[in-house]
């Protein structure tokens, strides 16, 4: 969104005009929903996270100084919410010996390729399940750093700024994430090579 337009909208919202906020939501929700879905892997959870990020923005709009863009602010908030969510989820799994079902479809592949044969679809589904299982093996931070770098193609320096940690820490998380994924996806790697 254009910086000037964003400033105008912020001024309108501060003056009590919530239609300005509706415009902000409409402008940022597609990207934010997509990011949240990629980060947590579950559509409903992603919607909750994106919604909470917008509500927090609305609550703190009076204090929003504009040091960063609204998009950056929303992405930072959603990423932190996603980390908290993934941590809570891992804790629940540990406490109740509960593991989330591996049947959940990957967000990217919910719509099967119509040109694929039944065998190919089955194989694609099996790959998705293995990838989901592998992603669930990552810690919350590893998953977020990997997703932001690999899927969102965000530079590590920006990820470090987003998470408020050193760049070296982000590098270590990325490397560990890749190591875990390689171990978990060893079978697929051998089949594909």
């Amino acid at each position: 969104m254009d910086t000037c337009l964003e400033k105008t909208l912020l001024a309108r919202i501060r003056a009590g005009d919530d239609t300005g906020f509706e415009t902000l939501v409409a402008a940022h929700s597609p990207r934010l929903l997509s990011l949240a879905w990629r980060l947590v892997g579950v559509r409903e959870d992603a919607e909750e996270i994106a919604q909470e990020a917008f509500l927090r923005l609305h609550r703190s709009i009076g204090d929003f100084r504009g040091d960063s863009s609204v998009a950056t602010w929303l992405h930072r908030t959603a990423t932190r919410l996603a980390i908290d969510h993934l941590r809570r989820q891992k804790l629940r799994e540990r406490i109740f010996f509960f593991r989330r079902g591996n049947e959940e479809a990957d967000p990217v592949d919910v719509v099967p390729d119509p040109a694929a044969s039944p065998g190919e679809r089955y194989f694609a589904g099996e790959i998705r399940r293995q990838i989901n299982r592998a992603m669930q093996r990552l810690s919350a931070r590893q998953r977020v750093v990997f997703t932001l770098r690999h899927h969102e193609e965000m530079p590590l320096r920006e990820i470090a700024a987003l998470l408020g940690v050193e760049e070296g820490t982000v590098k270590a998380h990325l490397h560990r994430a890749v190591r875990v994924l390689r171990r978990e996806l060893k079978d697929l790697q051998e089949e594909s090579s």
């Binding site: 597609p30 919604q51 990838i131 690999h150 969102e152 790697q189």
Partner: protein, 166 residues
């Protein structure tokens, strides 16, 4: 023979960062040079890339209708904010406690004003004790509340007498 993980340039971490283009220029050039002469590291890098290739890069997307529904849900959740933002935030709990304190103070003042001034004939030690006990009793919040209820009852009775109360 050059084995991966032994050379500092071809540590697995360096290969990961090399793949993502996250090495500093000098380190990147060093790894590139090393890879030219190290078949093991080239194989390692190829395996790394083949794994990462499996992971889809395409971003998930919501349909326009789903996004519209989501936007409407967010807007519905917005709370109406106070129009006059210059007013300090007035927390309900604080407001209630302030109101209760004010009511108690008014009640105390009313009771104090209504109480008869001590006459010379009431200055016996027994009466003085009784007066002290009354003041002590008034300072107790529960008794004050009861007193307030009694006053309300009196008011209600007065209204009933006047035929106002239903």
């Amino acid at each position: 023979m050059n084995k991966p993980h032994e050379d500092t340039l071809c540590r697995p971490e360096s290969l990961t960062l090399f793949h993502y283009g996250e090495l500093e220029t000098a380190d990147r050039l060093g790894v590139e040079k090393h890879l030219q002469g190290c078949a093991a590291c080239r194989r390692e890098l190829a395996r790394l890339r083949s794994t990462l290739k499996i992971l889809p890069k395409r971003a998930p997307e919501f349909s326009p209708g789903e996004i519209r529904d989501f936007n409407e849900r967010v807007v519905r959740r917005l709370r109406p904010r106070p129009r006059f933002s210059f007013r300090p935030a007035f927390k309900p709990a604080f407001g209630w406690s302030l109101a209760a304190t004010a009511a108690t103070a008014v009640l105390l003042l009313m009771v104090t004003l209504r109480s008869p001034t001590p006459a010379p004939r009431q200055s016996s030690p027994q009466m003085a004790l009784q007066g002290g006990a009354e003041i002590e009793a008034l300072l107790e919040p529960e008794l004050l509340l009861n007193l307030e209820l009694l006053e309300n009852l009196d008011l209600l009775q007065e209204l009933e007498t006047m035929g106002i109360s239903g």
